[in-house]
Symmetry: D2
Subunit: 304 residues, 4 copies
Amino acid sequence: MQPPGLIVAPLTPFTSDLTLNEAALQRQIDYVVRDCGATMVVAAGVETQEYTYLSLEQRKALVRRTIEFVDGRVPVMVGISHPSVKTAIELANDAEKLGATVVQLLAPLRPFAGQPTQSDLVAYFEAIGRETRLPIALYLNPGPGADVSIVDSIVLAKLPCVQLIKESSRDLARVSRLIVEIDRAGHAQYFTTMQMLLATLQLGGSGATMPPPASEIARHIIDAFMAKDIDRAAELQLQFALFPSKWMHRGLAPTMKAAMNLIGIPVGEPYPPYAPLSRDEMTGMAAVLKTTVLSARLSVTAAA
Amino acid sequence: MQPPGLIVAPLTPFTSDLTLNEAALQRQIDYVVRDCGATMVVAAGVETQEYTYLSLEQRKALVRRTIEFVDGRVPVMVGISHPSVKTAIELANDAEKLGATVVQLLAPLRPFAGQPTQSDLVAYFEAIGRETRLPIALYLNPGPGADVSIVDSIVLAKLPCVQLIKESSRDLARVSRLIVEIDRAGHAQYFTTMQMLLATLQLGGSGATMPPPASEIARHIIDAFMAKDIDRAAELQLQFALFPSKWMHRGLAPTMKAAMNLIGIPVGEPYPPYAPLSRDEMTGMAAVLKTTVLSARLSVTAAA
Amino acid sequence: MQPPGLIVAPLTPFTSDLTLNEAALQRQIDYVVRDCGATMVVAAGVETQEYTYLSLEQRKALVRRTIEFVDGRVPVMVGISHPSVKTAIELANDAEKLGATVVQLLAPLRPFAGQPTQSDLVAYFEAIGRETRLPIALYLNPGPGADVSIVDSIVLAKLPCVQLIKESSRDLARVSRLIVEIDRAGHAQYFTTMQMLLATLQLGGSGATMPPPASEIARHIIDAFMAKDIDRAAELQLQFALFPSKWMHRGLAPTMKAAMNLIGIPVGEPYPPYAPLSRDEMTGMAAVLKTTVLSARLSVTAAA
Amino acid sequence: MQPPGLIVAPLTPFTSDLTLNEAALQRQIDYVVRDCGATMVVAAGVETQEYTYLSLEQRKALVRRTIEFVDGRVPVMVGISHPSVKTAIELANDAEKLGATVVQLLAPLRPFAGQPTQSDLVAYFEAIGRETRLPIALYLNPGPGADVSIVDSIVLAKLPCVQLIKESSRDLARVSRLIVEIDRAGHAQYFTTMQMLLATLQLGGSGATMPPPASEIARHIIDAFMAKDIDRAAELQLQFALFPSKWMHRGLAPTMKAAMNLIGIPVGEPYPPYAPLSRDEMTGMAAVLKTTVLSARLSVTAAA
């Protein structure tokens, strides 16, 4: 059995004129790889990475820089989700040339209302799978993407081109079943979210994907789990009970950017029109983070 | 710390003329208490117990018989959810006289559309709380009941009359936060569902409530957890991955009745118009149950 | 062709000790029949009538009084929706003895989660239909009741026992289709809501059901429509644009009770824990009602 | 008062290699302007136009060709909805240069889950409004876009840059109120959908937007309404009761493309992976269209 995966999606730092802050990205990626022990890094793959605001050229540049800054230390998964199938294929081809290991693709909304059928979804993934030699990570995130049933998720997982799954729901009944019918059945590796991490590992799932600095807490959970110190793993998992839930009405990107700024690895503010957390919200978050494994970084910052 | 709670809600066995099959109820309660090690039994509290089909007199008789058959071996929680507040109070008063320990009360739907506000909910629970000396178990089950936000759930949990919570969602992000802000904060004991059991115990929740025979699997999970054999607990938790998920389109009551019938503790068929599982569905379920701790009972039945 | 139907559901006036205020009910029914020209009166049929708060005996008494006070001037439709099928049948039998013309029955929620299937629904309506000689009005109101698809609604409408339909959605695409496939096809009469009244009449539907005093505005709409004064009908229909929408976060029962109190036909306050409209909200509503056909009654009251 | 608006969104015809079929677009636009009497044409504005599949260059080319083929006969509204704000502004600037009259902009989803707040929405529309001299049509379409409350819709309509609104819901209670508080209040012109057309006109809304050939039926409805032949208008409105509802599980783009192909103005098939209607579905649709104002075109085709 492989060790559990910790797939980390760096936040996208913007300069004041809303272009990519490369220095901030590089520092962040070093933190993600070195301090969080990411086993894979995601480039422009999830909405919390605010890639949807970028032009196609900016998005490609973000992917390129991410791969450069990771610099071969771990594999990179490149997001290719795009309403245009041809653009998704173009992004997959680019990813392949740049040395990506996997491409991540959202189960797409039907543009003209209603959910896509099983055969729509199969045709979509097969069409894109034919155009790239890279394995596909099926990305399940109802809202930005389709709401895929348990049965359809299993069918997609059995496609040869689909080798990973990233599940964004926190429904443990759904996830338990999919871990058994997909991951333990050998069809694809199943990854969930920070709140589901310990439960996922115990049920036999492959790990979780998340942005920093949640990934640093996750690293401690995984290490405790591997060391069979389950009490410690459970205590650590509780660090995801209040954080990020208490700030989620502001959105995950503003919340995680605030946390990174608090621990001294600044990544700037959310892309407009979304607002950064207020001073009061930051103070409240600092108080919660002080009770987590992030507290050491926090004190250094506060002292500075 | 108290040992984890296993609150069991017996299914309601009907005779062919749709009245309570008392003998089947008694056998089932003996199984629940003796073999599943229920720490509390629920009388007419959750919809899977099909109590909504009963007339008020039939419902009271079901409560009375349940308490009689439990016969003081463990405490009994009596459901008092009813659209009429006065009837709910009448049921609470009856429960008190019959020796119940707790009453269970659904966060109510607003009858004329829309969700109740926080002050509606507080006024409702306080009004009923004033009329009974028994503590209340707040029952959160969106659909039959209101969809109560995290913030409102915490406010309700702080009411002195609310001392337990039964959460029907399987959203682990929600549940993690509520365990910390309600159970570990000392406001009320938090109970979840079979699919959430191990995760709940590890995060510090109080246990779970469920019908038999899921409760027998749950007993093994709790025992392994208490014995600190977490690998075994996790392996047992996986027995809830396919069961009951694969039959949930038929509903939880028909699914659990089928499982009870398969393990030789017959509880009859669902109340019409809901249909029992087909012969093929029963065969499929038997194959899945053979891989669980219920397999021993299953073979006996098959042999008979 | 029959003239359009105006089915009116009187609000339930409670005394200060939360029993039925019979005098207030009688006055209101006189208003509904005489001034609104109701073509049918509903007894304890829709949730806005707050019947769900009543004990079974109180509910039966409300039905009996409603029929007495209508006193044969128009037919009465009696609500028999109840989670217990046997109680629903008991209510239907009572309704028949008391001289009701139709019984109204909610497409039921499945008590143990998920939507009922087409065959569940057909079995349910057929089972109840067998037990009463009265025709059934199928009541479609997702939330308190099931969310019935277009296809399943058509199947139910074709049952011989179903002769009317009360649709609570305001989805004109759905309603247009159902009017054609159900009402114009001769399977059942289709009734909608106040906001849909003129559109329903123009498309060939049978009318609408609603509480007073919306019913007085509706009477004017129907009269203008019958007189082929469509400009007037459209102008009147606009009186439902702000009223009741601006107060719907408080619920339809509190909103309509406030309006009745404002026009001098007092019906008391909502059943607790739901609160009556505040003084400011009442003032705002009075200002809106002054622009409607209810203004005459309003000035009289204001003067008093 | 202005005559009612009929804003038509031509379907996007693709060649077999999935590029724009310009000849088919031109024929269609001639039909839309000449035969349907469109008062405005939409370029790449609504999802049914399948513009989300196009690369940015292909999308710009579609806009340019649409404006060329309309050739000044009526004003053109250009869709600028794009996850990237900067790209939306770029599209607005292009639209201005090409001679567009209005730009259409979807109330955006929050990329990282949850609905945008009122201040997020205001900031978003103001930011884009500052960058173009063209008025904005606010596009309300929950799913692809945010689910904007009644109150927030009114606030957005009062922004000076917002001068039209395209509402995709078919909720007549919502639309009635918004017509009064937005259109009749003078803040913006309110446009709805085909199923809502007559109701919208009667309540004082500004018209509707839709694809062909629904637009030809709509033209007849508007003409009858203007001629005060309301019986005829209502009879015509019923032509939208079965069409397109019966095929909507296939999606609006496949359904409308099938209808265009049936009436002899071919526009090809849906963009993959979405499938065209089957032969049986086409036959069923032809039977329904035979009962509409489109029947004349249909027979010619059938004969051909």
